[in-house]
């Protein structure tokens, strides 16, 4: 019982906390990606806005898809949604819960990217320098024959010669950056307020009992899939081992008929102790395994382990009451 509890705890903590960990790592990756990315404003009136909006929008989309890709729950959710009904009824609430959990986790890294770009300000400056009214600032370079738009579009570029001797560029820079940071902090505040409100009012809106059920069954699906994969891996190993041993023995039978019946033959079956037989669970042929895997998808078993549980319990009850047969199903 103790061991089982430990294993269950491990699985439970493992599944959700691993997803959370991956989510946070992806957010950190997105920050690192931004700092290592060499932002290169074209400083041309036609391209500034396009480039900035591109850099603000495309990486979050990429990070979102990537977040969905590496999330385990995406696979579990798709499996549960697409499977045939089989022996087990489908519960759309569980699918919805998994979907919303997955989307929430996948949205963190894109939001971090957008906030970092806004707080840094380079993108806003590149996009909106042409929309600033130059009359607000002194030191506008009048000596060139370029038009106003072209001059304003060169503001994001530090090396440009026309701004060399004036503080005009820096002034515009600060002005736009200030706006950008204000927008960034407001978005952050809004998100936090939304999150807090959602947390506080959720028990009023949702039925607590059914949400507990949904959480349980979505975790169950995740654990079940993991255990199935593990069982398949162990089964494959046992199958391979037995297959190889059998192959050697068949060769022996083909080649040398004059050997005395070796004690090996008898030994083999005894050697395949109960523990090893249990590992194969009675699946010893390719067709059986194929049927098992096909049935796992087309007709998932009922969520009812009474038979298995009763069997072990009956055994225990027999041990308690020595003279009496308590197990009445036989």
């Amino acid at each position: 019982m103790e061991r089982l509890k430990l294993v269950l705890q491990y699985f439970q903590s493992n599944s959700e906390s691993i997803s959370n960990g991956i989510c946070i790592i992806l957010a950190l990756v997105s920050v690192k990606l931004y700092t290592s990315f060499d932002f290169n404003c074209p400083c041309l009136p036609q391209y500034n806005k396009l480039y900035s909006l591109g850099v603000m929008i495309v990486p979050p989309v990429i990070l979102f898809f990537f977040g969905v890709l590496i999330n385990r729950h995406a696979g579990v959710m798709m499996d549960e949604w697409m499977r045939p009904v089989g022996n087990r009824s489908k519960n759309p609430v569980v699918v919805k819960y998994l979907f919303s959990a997955m989307i929430q986790r996948a949205l963190l890294a894109p939001m971090v990217w957008i906030l970092v770009t806004l707080l840094d300000g380079k993108i806003f400056i590149c996009a909106f320098s042409v929309s600033v009214d130059p009359a607000l600032f002194s030191g506008f370079p009048n000596d060139t024959d370029l038009n106003v738009m072209t001059i304003m579009s060169k503001v994001p570029c530090k090396e440009d010669l026309i701004f060399r001797n004036s503080s005009f560029r820096k002034a515009v820079f600060r002005y736009i950056r200030c706006y950008s940071q204000a927008v960034g902090w407001s978005i952050l505040l809004l998100l936090i307020i939304l999150g807090a409100l959602a947390r506080i009012f959720k028990p009023f809106l949702d039925d607590n009992a059914s949400s507990m059920q949904t959480r349980y069954w979505s975790n169950y699906l995740d654990v079940e899939q993991k255990l199935f994969d593990e069982t398949c891996v162990l089964h494959a190993r046992e199958f391979a081992h037995k297959c190889v041993v059998q192959f050697f023995e068949e060769m022996r039978e083909d080649v040398s008929v004059y050997l005395p019946p070796p004690f090996i033959a008898g030994h083999c079956f005894e050697e395949w102790e109960d523990a090893e037989k249990e590992k194969l669970h009675g699946i010893t042929r390719q067709e059986q395994m194929d049927e098992l895997l096909s049935k796992w998808y087309y007709s998932k078993p009922k969520l009812d382990v009474t038979w298995e549980a009763q069997r072990s319990r009956a055994w225990v009850s027999w041990r308690k009451h020595r003279g009496k047969v308590k197990y009445s199903d036989v």
């Binding site: 491990y10 898809f65 370029l146 190889v244 192959f247 249990e278 096909s294 036989v330």
Partner: protein, 352 residues
């Protein structure tokens, strides 16, 4: 339960995590190689494009092939493809699955190289500087009155800091081209991620049952190969041990009587017997060179069917049938003490 977990982790960690680790290391290596590599545009109209595009394409091909070389599953795939049918039919979907998984892992390092190259922009600048329109960047009289060939020569020098005098044109042009190059880079990344997302998300809509099957059997093929190698190693060890023992015993009769005298010490004798018996077991009945050669030959030319022996299955079936009467515990009971108890119970039941 703990052993179960540890074993599974060991199996998993050995196969998949190892390959994922190699994949990650190669991706980092490709990024590091790019930053360590000194990009050196020739700044001549005939060679710029070739150099730049070559640098964009050839290292990814090299990384892709390296990924194939470093992946163990490639040899498993090739073996499974080329083996004679024997007693086991071939399933092309398994080959396809293995090929897809090897290819996916090998594509990561090339993708990293291409995206880093595009984000950096030097390659595009080198390749496309001759097609630039200078007037876009301002009113410059640089190219007025020059012939086409001379214009191209001047434009080709743009990527080189020390060869092109007009710094403001150079900076403006390099910004412009870098911006386009980065846009291409982001679009490339978006396409790759979206494709991967579609494959991952949409695949369960089709052929999920077949996918479970191919995943299991391709993993099985890999594990079977490992098990065969392990069994051969164990066999070789036991073969060698017994061969040497027999040689010593044949060489001198005194060794025999020495053994007989020592048999008074029953414990050590039992241990020796156990060790000898386990060595004999490990031989699995193959005791001659020709037999072993036949085993190894047949393993390739005629792989056995995926069906464990009928006798074993029959034994298991019989136990199951009897087990139903006994409460069906046979397959699910560990250890021998329960066996004893089981027998007792069966006796009692028959009395009733």
């Amino acid at each position: 339960m703990d052993k179960f977990r540890m074993m599974f982790q060991f199996l998993q960690s050995n196969q998949e995590s190892f390959m994922n680790g190699i994949c990650g290391i190669m991706a980092l290596a490709s990024a590091q190689m790019y930053s360590a590599f000194e990009f050196n545009c020739p700044c001549m109209p005939e060679y710029n494009y070739t150099y730049a595009i070559g640098l964009l394409i050839i290292p990814p091909i090299w990384f892709f092939l390296l990924g194939f070389v470093l992946n163990n599953n490639v040899s498993v795939l090739a073996e499974e493809w080329r083996r004679p049918i024997g007693e086991r039919r071939k399933d092309p979907s398994i080959l396809r699955y293995m090929f897809c998984s090897v290819t996916q892992r090998s594509l990561i390092a090339p993708a990293v190289w291409v995206s880093v190259t595009l984000m950096d922009g030097k390659s595009f600048l080198c390749a496309f500087s001759v097609s630039l329109d200078i007037d876009r960047f301002g009113n410059y009289s640089l190219l007025r009155g020059l012939s086409e060939v001379e214009k191209m020569k001047v434009l080709a020098k743009i990527p080189c800091k020390d060869l092109f005098e007009h710094q403001e044109i150079r900076i403006a042009a390099s910004r412009y081209v870098k911006c386009i190059s980065q846009a291409c880079g982001w679009i490339f990344l978006l396409m790759m991620t979206f494709t991967a997302f579609l494959i991952r998300a949409i695949r369960p809509c089709f052929t999920q049952a077949a996918f479970l099957k191919t995943k299991y059997w391709s993993h099985y093929v890999d594990i079977e190969r490992k098990m065969f190698d392990e069994t051969c190693k164990e066999h070789a060890k036991s073969f060698a041990k017994i061969c040497i023992q027999q040689y010593f015993e044949n060489m001198s009769g005194e060794m025999q009587s020495f053994h007989n005298q020592r048999s008074s010490d029953s414990d050590s004798d039992e241990d020796d017997e156990d060790i000898r018996r386990s060595d004999e077991d490990k031989l699995l009945g193959i005791r001659a060179q020709d037999d072993m050669n036949k085993v190894l030959w047949n393993w390739h030319t005629c792989k056995p069917a995926l069906a464990l022996r009928k006798n074993y299955a029959d034994v298991h079936e019989n136990e199951k049938v009897n087990g139903e009467a006994n409460g069906g515990f046979n397959g699910f009971v560990n250890g021998h003490t329960q066996d004893v108890k089981k027998k007792e119970w069966a006796v009692y039941y028959s009395k009733v």
